[in-house]
Amino acid sequence: MKKSGQDPDLIASTQDQEPAGAAPDASLDSLFTNASTWGLEQGRNSGSPDAEAARDSAASAASKLTDGSRIAVIGGGPAGSLFSYFLLKTLDLVDTQVELDIYEPRLFTHSGPSGCNHCGGVVSESLVQILGAEGVLIPEEVVERGIDSYKMHMDVGAVRIDTPLHEKRIAAVYRGNGPRNSPPAMTTGFDRYLLQLATEYGANWQRQMVTDLQRHEQGWRLHCADNTAADYDLVVIACGINSALLIQTEKLGIKFHRPATLKTFIAEFKLGKQLIETTFGTSMHVFLLDLPKLEFAALIPKGDYVTLCMLGDEIDEELVNRFLNSPEVRECFPENRAPVNACHCFPRINVGPARQPYAEGMVFIGDSGVARLYKDGIGSAYRTAKAAAMTCALHGISESDFKQHYWPACRLITRDNTIGKLIFMVCTVIQKLKFTRRAVLRMVVLEQTLEGRKPRMSSVLWDVFTGSAPYTDVLLRTMHPAFLGHLCWNLVVANLPPIHAADKKVTAT
């Protein structure tokens, strides 16, 4: 992993861009040569609605993938690989053969920054299930540890929340091949596995770094670091949020604008398999601590390492130290303190949607486009990749096709994120007010220890921590009268003067 900032593997060069004053949504060249754009412009200026629809239809027909169409996918992370996999699989169903190149210079087989995608490495419960239903099984050699529970730590106590079926349905994975200086892992990184899956379905893996992108008569021209260039009908940007290539694409004269980002902190602590087994087990440890600027923090056990993932308002080293020195975190580690980390980075994550993540013959997927707020980044990479692949395979690759068939999937995520913001605001209130922390803890402890008790708070917290359910669904559950009733009752009872030992600092496992 690297310390911060931009992805060195996909740094784009500073070649000549559109001249100042160019049309905001299309270069002059493409306006006259691109049938789809020309058709749309004509439709706006003249003609009846019928004529406009006919022109749109003709333009759309010219922007469909046909035998021999050429597609470039920039970035071989989960979004790029899953897009390629679903597109090739669907095109095979409709008997269309295309040329698809994935541009990814990394092998994902090196330990440390050169083979890493700077991420906590958790494949959510819902994604593991959905991939299973899609026929994509995450093999044992890709999973560093199967997770079956969460342990929530607060200053007022800790409690373990189990999956209802006591089943390992969350996968802790490495995106590359382990932390800096770690011995070669016996496992395969998640990104490498998905990339192999895409190549098995016919994608060509080009180990090239894309340095520039230009509009071309019939589509797009890609320039690579070795001074070669290639033309494509469709370009899929899946390079992630930390890539400088995204800055380049803003200068292409399209309406795209990069998503808003937030700095996070990720670190790896080497403890050894045996010690992790006895201290962390198969639980992810999450912390609701009253630390300014901290939204969420989790310790994720993997093979020989434990990954720390911190999200919040511009995480800095001071906050990291305060967190690591808090008693709740220290007592998770052997000898009551966190060891020196083996590797750490401050990557940025997507916290706001990109403006118009599509253009004529171009689409932005994964973190480059829209992602779920704070959680399940790989899950939203899957969702946007699949929606884009279905749009390209079954509808077309024009701007209007993406607007009609791809954007709704992004909008669903964006709208749900609005609710997510509200939920995280409530979480912050809980973090700040001790009497609410006591009530939440008491409610969860009772749900987890008393048989037959409906896990109302447990399931809400589970879905907030894991990102398994839409935030809207989580919010609706918290509005259930029974949930509110239980919460009010626990707010009173949990804050009465302690009579029983069990009402003091609680630790339930």
Partner: protein, 130 residues
């Protein structure tokens, strides 16, 4: 087995039992299992399943009891897929159901084949006895 996903079933252990109510389907991560049908108190093996196979999908689309028993032959790692998680995603992306449809189509084709063979053998035995 710190890195295996799903639940582990030992050889001889039932993963699902005929007649019980189900609300999830299963995907076999690894291992081999047999599909058994209770007929007049006898268990007849109707199929075997391996890594990547999906079963129990009827419970996803119908509120009904399990139509067969699935029992582990070797150690089986199987993962459940919740009805709610699956249907929520299908609403957003109907193409997700394609893979399950493919599994069901494959099964119908297999049953057709077996039915044809059975009818042929019944007809042949009828001719012999007649």
């Amino acid at each position: 087995m710190i890195n295996a996903l799903g639940k582990v079933f030992q050889p001889g252990e039932n993963i699902v039992t005929q007649g019980e109510v189900g609300d999830c389907m299963y995907v076999i991560q690894q291992g081999e299992a047999e599909v058994l049908k209770d007929v007049d108190g006898k268990q007849i093996r109707v199929d075997t399943m391996r890594g990547g196979d999906i079963f129990g999908e009827i419970a996803i689309v119908e509120h009904t009891t399990r139509s067969s028993t699935v029992r582990a032959i070797t150690e089986v790692h199987a993962m459940t897929i919740d009805r709610k998680t699956f249907l929520r995603r299908v609403q957003e992306d109907p193409s997700l159901a394609l893979n399950v449809l493919k599994v069901m189509a494959h099964r119908v084709r297999g049953l057709d084949q077996e039915l044809a063979v059975l009818k042929q053998s019944i007809a042949a035995s009828g001719l012999e006895t007649g």
